[in-house]
Structure formats: C-alpha cells, structure tokens
C-alpha cells in the first residue's frame, strides 16, 4: 500500500513538473514547439520608414523613421484605423519633419482655433536656421517673431524669439527695457499645447497635435530648409530603429505593425503582423490616414507562410491624380 501511494506521488509529481514547465515556457518557445508561427508582442508595435503620413488633407508628418507602440486612446476599445480618435501613438524613437505649411495649418486650424484666441492668421516660415512666426495679436495688432527652436529636457519644444515686431515696430529692445514680456501681451484662454512663458512659446506635441493622439518626448529639433525636423529618443534611439523584422525586408518605404490586436473596417487582426509597403519606392510612401482604405483597395495584398500580411499600396497623391483623371468631362 505504502509502495502504491509512493508511485502515485511520483507520477503526480512528474505531471506537476510537466504542467509547470508548459506554463513557464515563453509563449514564443511554446509556439515554436507546436509548429505555429511565433507570437508577437502583447501590444501593437510599429516601425515606420520613409512615409509622408497625412493626418488630414493639409497636415503631413514626414516620417524618416519611427519606432513605437500603437495603443488604444479609449479604454476598452481596440485601436481602429477608421477612427483617428481611438489611436494613441506612443513614440519611442525616430525622426519626423513637418513643413512650415503644415505647421501653419496646425496652428491656425487646431491650436489657436477657438473663440477669443490671442493669435490669429498665423503664418510660419523659416529664415536660415531660425523660425519666423507672423500673426495677428488679439485680432488687431500684426506681430512678427523670429527666433530659435530647442528641445527642453521635459520633451517639449521651446521657441525663443530674438526679434519681435509689433504693429510694424521693432519691439524686443523696448519690451526688454520696460520689463514687458510676450506672456503679458498674449493672453490665451485655452492653451491647447502652447504655453507662453516670458517671451518663449513652449509647445507640447502631446497636446497640440490633432488626432491621432501622440505620446512623445522630443529630444532634438532643427530647421532644414522650410521644414522643422524633430527627433525622438535618447542615445538608444539608433538601436530601436531596426528592432522589428518586417516580412518584406527589401521594402524601403513602409509601415509595419506587429503584435496586439488592431481593427480596420470589418477586420480584426489578432497577433497583428501587417506591413504596408510603397508600390512606388522612388519617393516616400504618401499615406492618408483618412483615406487609407482607398489606398488598400487600390493595392495588392499577399499572405506569407507564417500568417503575416504584406499590402502594397499606391501613393495617395497618385490615387488622387488617377481619381481626377477618371472624372467624366463636364
């Protein structure tokens, strides 16, 4: 009897070790053992290269490269490509530029677009490595500021004017002499991502960007031609650049989403593994977040043996051109 009980104990003990081993083995290893494709990360990671990412018809982020995580902005909902407000892009590293035309639109249509805004008719341009901002203050006084951009340690961007003209008059020296600061003149009721501290304009991308929401810390900012180039990530940024291995490794311009669950139109993709590549790699992929599905419909998709999907899409501007040439003559 004692012997029999001992045998049962040994058998149960072995079974417990077996179950424990299965539970503790990494998910990817278990998948490998079972012959299934390895599972991606629990949340959706993204890696983007050479993409002009149109947030709307006139604001474009020129993404040289970007690494981060695509999260849901609404608890309990999946990140859904058809609903910009549902998306939260947590940026870990990368380099993104914005033309002054896009930045002008961002300021006029989002940041200072509310009743009683202190600045209106904003026009942003560059002057060498400086930024020039022209605007109408309190709907009456034309102002012009020229200054430099810098990234602050907290990840915000500082615009510090070297010269200020107000109502056509060089004002900076006089303002400094009498202790008058821009923050006293430009009083806003709804900052929306721009704080005025002394003469500085402090911009927070996490607040001032329209949907999709962004969570990012700017680590560097510079002017290149008529573009404002922002970099993200610290000294480990370069390592993050090629962290994910997309199915089409030859593609130069692409967006790759891996892991987690995302939704687009009627599709819900679990353990996401989708790469959107440029059908015309001669220039950056022109991608419209608002019209992305038109691009997918006009493109071609294929599935790889491990379940990944690679979709080759035309540039958005080519699609627009095609659309307008197909319009019947009036």
């Amino acid at each position: 009897m004692k012997k029999a009980l001992g045998l049962v104990g040994v058998v149960l003990g072995c079974a417990a070790v077996q179950v424990w081993g299965q539970t503790k083995a990494p998910k990817a290893e278990r998948a490998k053992r079972s012959g299934a494709p390895s599972a991606g990360p629990a949340t959706t990671q993204f890696q983007i290269r050479n993409v002009n990412f149109r947030i709307d018809e006139s604001i474009t982020l020129e993404i040289a490269w970007l690494r981060g995580e695509l999260l849901s902005n609404e608890p309990g909902k999946l990140p859904t490509f058809d609903d910009k407000a549902s998306l939260l892009m947590k940026i870990d590293a990368g380099e993104v530029a914005m033309s002054t035309a896009s930045f002008t639109d961002l300021m006029n249509r989002y940041v200072f677009n509310y009743p009683g805004a202190p600045l209106t008719n904003i026009r942003v341009s560059t002057e060498g490595d400086l930024l020039r901002q022209e605007a109408t203050m309190h709907n009456t006084v034309p102002t012009e500021m020229v200054g430099s951009l810098a990234a602050l340690p907290d990840g915000r961007i500082r615009f510090r004017p070297n010269t200020i003209r107000a109502a056509g008059v060089p004002a900076k020296k006089l303002m400094d002499a009498v202790g008058l600061q821009t923050s006293k003149l430009v009083k806003g009721t709804d900052p929306r991502g721009v704080d005025i501290v002394g003469d500085d304009l402090i911009m927070d991308l996490n607040v001032l960007m329209p949907p999709p929401r962004v969570r990012a810390k700017v680590s560097g900012v510079r002017i290149e031609g008529d573009r404002i180039v922002q970099t993200f990530g610290g000294k480990d940024a370069a390592a993050a650049r090629e962290e994910l291995a997309p199915p089409d490794k030859e593609a130069a311009n692409y967006m790759y989403y891996r892991g987690g669950t995302i939704r687009f139109r009627k599709f819900i993709m679990e353990d996401t593994d989708v790469q959107i590549v440029d059908a015309d790699p001669g220039d950056p992929l022109d991608y419209s977040l608002e019209r992305y599905f038109d691009q997918i419909v006009a493109g071609q998709s294929r599935n790889t043996s491990n379940g990944a999907q690679v979709t080759s899409v035309p540039d958005y501007h080519d699609l627009q051109r095609r659309g307008s040439s197909e319009q019947p003559a009036p």
Binding site: M137, H138, T140, V141, A166, A167, G168, V169, P170, A171, K173, L174, M175, A177, V178, G179, L180, K184, L185
Partner: protein, 79 residues
C-alpha cells in the same frame, strides 16, 4: 471701466500705471481694458510715458520709446 491711467495734479499730468502697461497701450499692443480706445488717448499716454522717463533721467529709454512711437505717429520724431 478701467481705472484712469492719468492723474491730474495741479497743472501737471502724471502716469498712474506701470510703465510697461503705458508703453504697451501707447504702442497699440494692449487696450488697458478700454473698448476701442481712441488713437489720441494712446498718443497722450505715450507722451506721458516719455515725460515720466525724462523726469527720471532715463534718457536712453525715453529716446527708444520716442523712436518706437514715431513708427506709429511720425509727429513723435525728435527735432
């Protein structure tokens, strides 16, 4: 209605507001709480600001303000 920026004292007029407020008002950058203030009110405040600076012997600053005001009203130009 905003507090008057000017005080009458015997036969002299004096500023009763901070110089920074007077300068921004005279330059047309702020309105001191007035609705659509007249241009001649801005000019008077500008003159009083220059006068206050000169009385305080802030000659350089007075000249700077005078030059700036002359951009708005050429009559402010120094002889």
């Amino acid at each position: 209605m905003a507090k008057s920026p000017i005080v009458f004292e015997d036969e002299r007029l004096r500023l009763t507001i901070p110089l920074a407020d007077a300068v921004s008002f005279a330059m047309g950058w702020s309105d001191l709480g007035y609705r659509d203030p007249a241009e001649n009110l801005r000019q008077v405040i500008g003159l009083l600001a220059i006068d206050a600076l000169q009385r305080a012997e802030q000659w350089r600053l007075a000249t700077m303000l005078q030059t700036c005001l002359a951009h708005r009203w050429p009559a402010f130009e120094a002889d």
